[in-house]
């Protein structure tokens, strides 16, 4: 069999298996339930969704982002997929909900939203332990109403397991981790559907009201938020407040006491979304409705417009309950969202919210991923046609386009954040993918076959899968509000880019060496000597680059540490990890100089270099020690073990083969010596 065919088959099989696996695992199938029109709320007008998505929100991670971004990660975390699609009776195509549409349904139509299959449950065992009967499929989607009967058990689990996860994270079982995740999603979802409760639920004014401004409401029912605004700004309340601040004993009249008691039960939001922009330029006092009520009661900076705002919220929520007035409601919501955007713009607090939405709408990384998967298949085919050079050239051009698009996605983030391309662990993935891919493509200059292209495309696809798995796994905003120490573009553009370039190149060298080992296993050397010299030259060259960037990056990191923390080197895990890579490269290069290793040995050691690189890139973040706490991650151990296992397996394969080849060579030499002198060597 032609060695090229073997490579093609291996590549195609790899691609097929990984696609199959990802296709099966990333998206649980949608429930088959068909919704009737009566079970669904009115659809949102596009312009309403647009305005709402563009509305700014100061999220609790400290970042001002678009409502779309917030909704996206809420839905992604709860549902493991950032779109909701349902079968509707009489409609051929499934109706789908964008994150914003889903979030708005949660806000204003909880009675409908509670029947959407919004929750992913990874294992039916989780539900069984909570006292619910799980669906037939192990991994499936559930509605809030299905989970609600176990509410008490869920809340208790959240508390108990939350404490355990903090105190003894290593003792958490899989089911416990999944239960905790579900319980947190449950609480988060519930906080969204009850967010407008105080604007929706009414309190009753007593029949006797002794106040000029409030007289008109006597005996009527008014939404709690609005009522609070009215009461707090009424002369009767202000009078009592004045007496209190003067230190006098103030006894509120009975009717007022009754109202205050109602406020205490009705105004209890579990969550506050900060969408009211600061009151002036340069301020950062973003607020939500609870903040508004506080500011109003205490005479804070937001107090002046607070009554109107509380009334507006109350009217919105009340109007939403009357489906006949849906048009009017949606118009009012449009005005509400637009007003917030304009207010934020007026005080220069809107920032890059529009671009923030665009980033998640365009999904550049997602398209790049599938583009590379496609290219991967075409490249596998190209191995069957070694002489179709033009075809390879086109593929190489496509790969460059793919990496250019990836660069575009990275630059889009740079534009939004205003910081260097890598500021958190997520951003290392597209960056390292890009750099390793580009270096691999550049090796086409050294190696005149489809191998560098195939490696580049595999890196592109694999890297972007890793990125989307990381995004979905954490389901948190992938753009961070940066810690004070990281807010330095000088260091982000020098140290962080070079150290990650070091990771990328050392990993790439390891990949080329693994290819070498595989090629050796399939005994391609007899027919393809050129391939082997090329692989060695490439891996060696890339490893030298790895040393260069790793060394410079590590030392730059030390100098940054000396500028921010007062020490050049602190033996902190992240620093040590980078040092390990540098030492590894130095060791391998000097082993070669010392004559300890030649070609095969060099590749075995270079392939092994993937282990310290993975350790430094991912594993040190799990140790939770040191000053680099902005990178701490958890729950990756299993994946890391698999990765180490694969690398170790390939390396052991190489060692065994190297040993067998040595034995065979010695036997041949011995046999040759044993032959009588003068007999001709057939070769």
């Amino acid at each position: 069999m032609n060695p090229r065919n073997i490579v093609a088959v291996v590549f195609a099989a790899l691609a097929g298996v990984s696609l199959l696996y990802l296709g099966m695992s990333s998206r649980p199938p949608e429930p088959e339930k068909v919704f009737t029109a009566a079970e669904l709320p009115p659809a949102w007008k596009p312009e309403v969704l647009d305005a709402f998505e563009l509305m700014p929100l100061a999220d609790n991670d400290g970042r001002v982002k678009s409502m779309h971004t917030f909704a996206y990660f809420e839905l992604l975390r709860t549902r493991a997929y950032a779109t909701l699609s349902l079968k509707v009776e009489g409609e051929k195509q499934k109706r789908s909900w964008t994150p914003a549409a889903w979030l708005l349904d949660c806000f204003f139509y909880p009675q409908f939203a509670n029947n959407y299959p919004s929750f992913v449950v990874e294992d039916g065992e989780v539900l069984a332990q909570l006292g619910l009967s799980p669906h037939e499929k192990q991994r499936d989607r559930y509605t809030f109403n299905e989970l609600r009967p176990a509410r008490e058990a869920i809340v208790a689990a959240a508390q108990r397991l939350g404490m355990k996860a903090q105190d003894k994270p290593e003792e958490m079982t899989r089911v416990e981790s999944l239960t905790l995740a579900l319980a947190r999603n449950f609480a988060s979802y519930e906080s969204l559907t009850t967010l407008f409760d105080s604007a929706r639920e009414k309190i009753a004014f007593p029949a006797e009201v002794d106040d000029e401004t409030l007289k008109q409401f006597a005996g009527k029912e008014v939404p709690a938020l609005q009522a609070f605004g009215l009461v707090v700004s009424s002369p009767a309340w202000k009078n009592i407040d004045k007496q209190r601040t003067a230190g006098e004993l103030a006894t509120p009249p009975e009717w007022l006491k009754g109202l205050v008691m109602q406020f205490e039960t009705k105004l209890k939001p579990v969550r506050d979304l900060y969408w009211y922009p600061p009151t002036a330029k340069g301020m950062d006092n973003w607020l939500g409705s609870t903040g508004l009520t506080n500011d109003l009661a205490k005479g804070g900076l937001h107090a002046s417009g607070a009554v109107a705002r509380l009334t507006e919220l109350s009217e919105l929520a009340t109007l939403a309950t009357d489906l006949k007035q849906n048009d009017a409601f949606q118009d009012k919501l449009l005005a509400f969202a637009t007003a917030r955007t304009n207010e934020a713009k007026a005080v220069d607090a809107y920032g890059k919210v529009a671009q923030d939405r665009a980033y998640l709408k365009w999904r550049v990384f997602e398209y790049v991923k599938w583009f590379f998967v496609l290219l991967f298949l075409f490249t596998a085919v190209s191995w069957l046609m070694p002489r179709a050079l033009r075809y390879q050239k086109v593929l190489r051009g496509c790969a460059w386009v793919g990496f250019a698009a990836l660069l575009g996605g990275i630059l889009q983030r740079v534009f939004i954040t205003g910081w260097g391309p890598v500021t958190n662990i997520y951003e290392t993935i597209p960056y390292i993918t890009l750099m390793a891919g580009i270096f691999s493509l550049l090796m086409s200059r050294v190696m005149k076959n489809a191998l560098p292209l195939s490696v580049a495309v595999a890196i592109g696809a694999g890297g972007m899968f890793l990125a989307s798995m990381h995004e979905a796994g954490k389901s948190e905003d992938t753009i961070d509000a940066l810690q004070a120490v990281l807010r330095s573009n000088y260091w982000l553009w020098t140290h962080v880019t070079s150290i990650n370039l070091g990771y990328a190149t050392v990993l790439l060298a390891a990949i080329f060496s693994m290819v070498y080992i595989f090629a050796r296993v399939f005994d391609l050397m007899r027919k393809e000597t050129k391939l082997f010299t090329d692989l060695t030259r490439s891996a060696y060259g890339i490893l030298c680059f790895g040393l260069f960037f790793g060394l410079i990056g590590t030392i730059l990191g030390g100098i940054w540490g000396n500028e921010s923390w007062g020490r050049f080197w602190g033996w902190d895990p992240k620093e040590n990890g980078a040092l390990l890579i540098v030492l590894w490269c130095l060791m391998v290069l000097h082993m070669r100089l010392a004559g300890w290793i030649r070609e095969f040995g060099f590749h075995i050691w270079t392939a092994m270099g993937a282990i310290p690189t993975i350790f430094s890139w991912w594993h040190v973040n799990l140790l939770n020690v040191g000053l680099h706490s902005y990178g701490f991650t958890e729950g990756l151990e299993t994946y890391l073990r698999i990765a180490y296992g694969i690398v170790a397996g390939i390396v052991i394969l190489g060692i065994v083969l190297r040993f067998l080849e040595g034995v065979a060579r010695r036997q041949m030499a011995a046999a040759k010596q044993a032959l009588p002198a003068g007999s001709a060597d057939p070769a």
């Binding site: 600061p278 410079i552 100098i559 050049f568 602190g570």
Partner: protein, 413 residues
Amino acid sequence: MNQPENSTQPRTKPGFPARLLALFASFNIAVVVFALMIVVTFTGTWLQKKYGLYDCQVWYFESWITPRPAWLWGWLPLPGMALLLAVMFVNVLSGGIIRIRKSKRTIGVVISHMSILGFIVAGAVSLWSKTDGYMRVFEGDGNSIVESHFDWVIEVRELKSADGKQPAADSVSYFPDKLFTDCTGDKSRTFFKSGWPFEIKASGYLRNAAVVPSGDPSVTGDSPRQGDYALSAIPVNPNNERNVAGVRVEITDSLGKPATAGLLNAAVMRPLVFDTGGRRFSLALTRERWQVPFTIHLDDFRAKYYPGTQKAESYESDIKVIHEGGNESKHRISMNNPLRDSGYVAYQTDYDHDSAPGEEKYSVFTIVKNRSDQWPLYSLIVCTIGLVIHFLVKLASFLKRSAATAAKASPTP
């Protein structure tokens, strides 16, 4: 096989110095050192999860041979990073600089090897002579005292005596913790200051301890005791800044008679006071403190938080540095922007987290004195130059070679 590439066949038998140099210069040593460094770095990193950064640093990275409790691989002691770096220094100097074949092709390599020496020397100077600690300054106030993060001292202070005699000018003395940190178990040590009429005998040192009544269940037979009280050991916190040391002291007067004894614990604010030879002294265990030759006066501290959070976006201090001569200069210190002045570097490290945003009362600076402060930067510049030269040399030869192959491959018309 296994011969260094640059060991050429000797024409005449080399002398002893040359042979010694060849031994030090060996590539084999380089490889072994790198391999051991990898093992030590990995071990010292992995164990941080269990023992914390501080201990692992002392055991693995600042030691010549790793001490016993730190042996991960059973009985096998590992060379400490200090030893490995010393060997590397000799190896790089003899092999990578002196003995290496000098030509246009190796100049980049020689230059980058020189920079490695720079890094090692910078590290050694910093290990043996760097002082660092923190200084807390309240707004509108000044400070010139730096406090250590980790090191303890026994502070002895002469007080006004019982009959009202004022003490002499230099009435305070500090005994550094290296005098008593090894006085654990049965070990004890006696120290004194000339001119003071007593000796201090320290014993029963504990890294993390609390003074409790001797009937407390945490007290064991080994716990140092004094009267109705005992020092009870608390498990050592991996975060070394959190450990509160304790030690037992016995005072004997100039005649050798026991004067007093007591338990010193950094958490106890009241010092041990005793009279001897008609004079009165106080004894306390505190963090080591030292005076710097300038005062930092905090004019204003500002922190900016991300909206709706306690997460600081940036924080900075406007300070006045007042030198001993009286001349003042104004500066602004923030994260990543330290102040370098008269051999010291002041970093913005921390601030008052307990007050409401906008009402922070104090700022915390790390004050470092390190002669090799900027040496890594200079070494890095040298290193980069060396590596870039080497890259260009290699690139040139690669291009030449591929041009030659291309010329050979293409038939002449």
